[in-house]
Symmetry: C2
Subunit: 221 residues, 2 copies
């Protein structure tokens, strides 16, 4: 059986997602150590484990497709690590904003790409990209902090802009460097894809949704 | 309804366990960032999330008993944090040995105390103290490392002794400082408990099992 033309891109997409979820686990677990209260610590730990559960689901699918899970993740290690290295939260609140805004951008991006792959992959991508229901917690904590000290809002707004800038830069770089993802996104005659204008509009949609998220946090986009 | 005489000790026991599991989550998540391979990283993350699942079960039980979860954990924060502060692994292998040996001691201790509480608490304590099936992974990785470089075995054996020393010191301090736990352990005429000789034998049993674990790792106890 010849693998379908998009199978390389599917392994790439799932590999990127799988590594993304693993780093999300690590980062949230790290942030939990900055939590001011035990309840907050447990909440961040719960978010971390939700991401790890997604990582597991993606790993299982990759294994089912006959892919080596580590090999599938490896091409994306550098760009995720660079993103996290460039956006290290200095405190608990920056960690919360990064979790909310960073995961939001990643999920929007994956949901957009999900429209271009087979149905079964799409269902999995949509499932792991669904809001895990922890957003309310982040919104509550950030709003409480900015209500108590309006100066914090200015600092966190700047921080949010830095996150979205780095995230979009890494996403663009990743697509540019992985031919299979570029082909998936742009199409190659045999697969649907979107044209260059479509890619621009995709990034514009992701940016719009980012602005809506910043607004939900009570921060200037 | 008057609460049973041992209910304070039950809340203490569950509170200590709940905080212990939360710190175990944090520590394993932190160790996962030192993993040499992506597969190892995911394995440590899985161990961390298993501990967090236990934390959740204990929190739910505490809430069911009408206890405030944070308040129940708070008396044990200092001693767990001191234990972890005094036993920071310098590398991946020390982290693995600490996870295996430290969790083993804690679980042995909890299982011993479980014999002194009501049946429903006992069932929960035994469930969260059961081996989560990750020991094989640790044994494999440590044995591989010591096979490759026998010098490592000496260093890790010393490390294991430090872990058990600190763990027993903190356990003794905690029991001495929390009257309800001391009463649970020693009995107060109305509850079963063990006498002072029994407590000494309990610590001896925990130490024996520690030696068996070091042997399983191929390390001198």
């Amino acid at each position: 059986m010849t693998p379908p033309p998009e199978s390389e891109a599917v392994v790439d997409l799932l590999g990127a997602l799988a590594y993304g979820e693993l780093t999300a686990f690590e980062r949230l677990a790290e942030d939990s150590s900055m939590a001011p209260h035990l309840v907050d610590k447990a909440e961040l730990a719960a978010m971390a484990c939700a991401e790890f559960r997604h990582h597991r689901m993606l790993s299982e699918r990759l294994a089912l497709l006959g892919a080596d899970v580590s090999a599938a993740m490896r091409p994306f290690v550098a760009s995720f690590d660079e993103f996290h290295g460039r956006t290290r939260p200095a405190d608990w609140l920056e960690g919360l904003v990064k979790a909310y805004v960073g995961d939001g951008i990643a999920e929007d991006f994956y949901r957009e790409v999900a429209g271009l792959v087979d149905e079964s992959t799409r269902a999995l991508v949509l499932e792991v990209s669904a809001d895990t229901g922890h957003s309310e917690f982040v919104v509550d904590r950030v709003r409480r902090a900015t209500d108590a000290d309006p100066v914090v809002a200015g600092r966190l707004a700047l921080w949010g802009r830095r996150i979205v800038g780095e995230a979009l830069a890494q996403a663009q770089r990743t697509v540019a460097e992985r031919e299979s993802l570029a082909r998936l996104l742009m199409g190659d005659g045999t697969t649907p894809g979107v044209d260059l204008g479509g890619v621009t509009r995709l990034f514009a949609r992701v940016t719009d949704r980012h602005s809506a998220r910043m607004q939900a946090l009570g921060l200037a986009a």
